[in-house]
Symmetry: D2
Subunit: 277 residues, 4 copies
């Protein structure tokens, strides 16, 4: 990522792959250039916590941030029937914030729409699948159609967006239906053109289940970066000051031999992909 800086600014960057039991980082490298005058602070993060880097640009006029990693990801498959058995979840207090509206997911405004469209589906897993399908059918994927202030509220009307907008709308509808839902960013295999990707998770049974309303990537080809309520929590870079992003280059390759991409279609036949937190 290359930035032009017109006044001393602060960036909070979130590009490091998350460390979780099912996502082990074999190797990684991070750099911010120039070093001179730029203050870089990596914030301590526990297992499963977003790995933020805080950068004070000082007098630098340009900034180049590089991150490379090799990551081993394990996915669990859960069969739909298993999910079907868990009728009502015990609500863990930690889940409550994922029921509340957030910057880009105004679930408080979507109650009537959500219950009208999905209220008759009893099974929670099928309900969220229907949400993801509805978003997929009703929103067009159009590069450049939205910007950093676009929220689920807008996407309901404009019916166009990019991955982050698809995720936000999916999340907002789930929350309106009293289903905890959260956002995450990822490096994704096979995304065309390559870029950061955004997906969403819904808490069903007693697990966070993975959904991608864009249907652009195999669900097992995803390396998780940051989670949160929405893009505000997991932005690749949050900028305080006068900074312009000039270029972002992302590349994601599968190293494993014999890797088999699991599309939603195949998953629907067999079961459902699950990411451990």
């Amino acid at each position: 990522m290359r930035y032009t800086i017109s006044a001393p600014s602060t960036l909070i960057v979130n590009v490091h792959a998350l460390r979780t039991p099912s996502q082990v980082i074999l190797e990684e490298h991070f750099s911010a250039e120039p070093w001179a005058g730029v203050k870089v602070e990596e914030l301590a993060a526990g297992t499963g916590e977003n790995r933020f880097v805080r950068i004070e640009t000082g007098k630098a006029k340009e900034l180049t941030i590089t991150y490379k990693a090799t990551v081993e990801v394990t996915h669990h498959l859960v069969t739909a029937s298993q999910l079907g058995r868990v009728a009502v979840e015990k609500m863990n207090p930690g889940l409550i914030p994922y029921l509340f509206p957030s910057r880009y997911c105004q679930s408080d405004q979507l109650g009537r729409l959500a219950w009208d469209k999905f209220g008759k589906i009893r099974n929670t897993y099928e309900r969220v699948l229907a949400v993801a399908d509805w978003v997929h059918r009703n929103v067009d994927y159009v590069r450049g159609s939205t910007n950093g202030s676009t929220a689920a509220y807008d996407t309901v009307i404009q019916r166009a967006g990019v991955c982050r907008d698809f995720a936000h709308l999916g999340i907002a509808l789930c929350r309106a239906l009293t289903i905890p839902a959260r956002y995450f960013t990822a490096y994704a295999h096979d995304l065309e053109p390559p870029d950061f990707h955004a997906l969403f998770e819904a808490y069903i049974g007693n697990r966070w289940m993975l959904f991608d309303a864009t249907r652009l990537v195999p669900l097992n080809g995803v390396v998780r970066i940051g989670s949160g309520r929405d893009a505000a929590d997991a932005a690749v870079a949050t900028i305080f000051g006068r900074v312009r992003c000039d270029e972002t280059t992302v590349s994601c390759k599968v190293v494993e031999k014999g890797f088999k991409a699991l599309t939603l279609k195949e998953l629907k036949k067999k079961g459902v992909s699950l990411d451990a937190a």
Copy 2:
């Protein structure tokens, strides 16, 4: 609080006083009526965590929620000069979310306004005081002028609101200035007419400092209920379904003999009130 329910709904209620080292609950009572058919679940909360109650209304057509407590609150005063000494805070990772925009605090949109108005003030504490003063001077307190979807974005334009709107705008401006800020609800002594109150805190030095842009209550006459990024996290009641609030009655009395209300004016002379988390 009295509710009319037109379809089976879920409520997440947050009216219990927070338990913190400086806020000890001597006695409390909570009830939801009717009991029959209504499922009430108190979620486990650690010290300093919001105490949520989840209510499934079932077939009830009405619901009355009552909470009473006697609470002992200790306040710490910090002198402005002490705060002045702490030039830049070490950013604890737990504070990062309080820098991000949220449902009602679109700090991402307020950067130019905030830096233009407050950028020249170097001392962080004075900067936040200036924010609170600006909100007080530019926003009129007008009952009924806003509703549950009003956010800081709107208040900048409409220049009218209630306590929650004052707090949201103060928070959004702080975050735009890279100062962590959060929202909290409270029972407040001397609020006229009596109601729930909302205030905000900014993280200065290494403490959460208390601000009330409405100037309606003494800062030491406040019993903390819930904290969070904004009213979405600390709503008195979050409603999923068809529920109408018919009536809310709040009463808050000082039991202590010889209690002396500390207004912002007096605090400015002496120092600043501080709430331990």
Copy 3:
């Protein structure tokens, strides 16, 4: 209408029935009280033009506005087949503004939604009927659910509103489909509870055809007050200053003996009601 005035203010009031070839005013009376110190100016209006009254409140603290009229209304019925014959209208330049977005009808944002839902219907009249039906099915009529700043943009999401919101959404969808559409206010027979009503017209063939997405009143029981692009142009009262409306009482009775209310259902069988401009 009764107002409380807290500072010298200006009101632009639009409650007079429109004069058109098909709407003849037999008798009318208008008054604003008190007269002393209040400046009332009736603006000259041609046939078919909104009849505005401009009121400068001066030092008055209260204001009561009264309007009474007896109006003879003629309706024309056009059969659907006649409308069907007019494939594409010659676009009169005066119609162009009714294709553009306006304060409460952000048709520029609704293109994808409108074409996705209604693009396949070829006949213009049937397309607008489908729009009115869609609004009726997807929006709940809920008193008090919206306010003076609510626009079509919001109603798409919130799915609740009053007559003005139904009209705005119908108009916005028509314009997104390149069909000129406008808003009008009316006194309406049989509205329960009695109030001002709002409807919309779409320009089909070479006529303004009448639609009521709320389905609350017979289309031939309507006395037209003001037309315009949306409620901004035809507000009952536009207030510049500090004025609060305390009470509005509307009453509308059919004088004609043997009047037969024509509901949309009956009209669908026979043809369609038409108002001459």
Copy 4:
């Protein structure tokens, strides 16, 4: 202007210079290419009325629109003292719509802000000058910072925009102050880089007075294209369908020998530029 068309669409184009007594078109040329299959209809416009062209793209995949004209413009100067004499205007009914909020000028939301900032200035001309100055001081001119849905509501918060945003905010504030105000587009001498320009007019005394909150062009170097309530009425192109603008090239040269640019600074000394409608 070059467009790429992905589905049969309608464009309403407004690039012709306005014909008014003070703006005489000596020569002009308009073309849309390709001609084959593209239906172009020039709508009849009276003196002072916007000159719209309606284009049905048919099956064309590309469209190039060219307009060239030589225009003679006469400006009238009115001294500030003359304006000062006209204390209150007689409100012509035709002016009323310019008092109402519109798509991009939500004056209904800005009452408190406007009266708080400008309420104490008694002279109407000075009041509008103060509005234009305030917009100039508080909004940064930043190319690419806004898009076609940005309105005055947003600019109050974001404090950045282009000429159209400056005009919208100026208009909205005037209307909130009960001063009729309108928007117009223009070809402008000396605009750097060359582009369409947008300005605003306020009705003071009994004339439309010209203001440019951007201060980017001499007020006498302007050829008027379209007027209206805001950019919705005077958009260079309103698109119904799937059309992308690829390129816009504007060039505006002064033919007159000895032309003297009149900046706002000079005008302030002498009087004020005025455009006849």
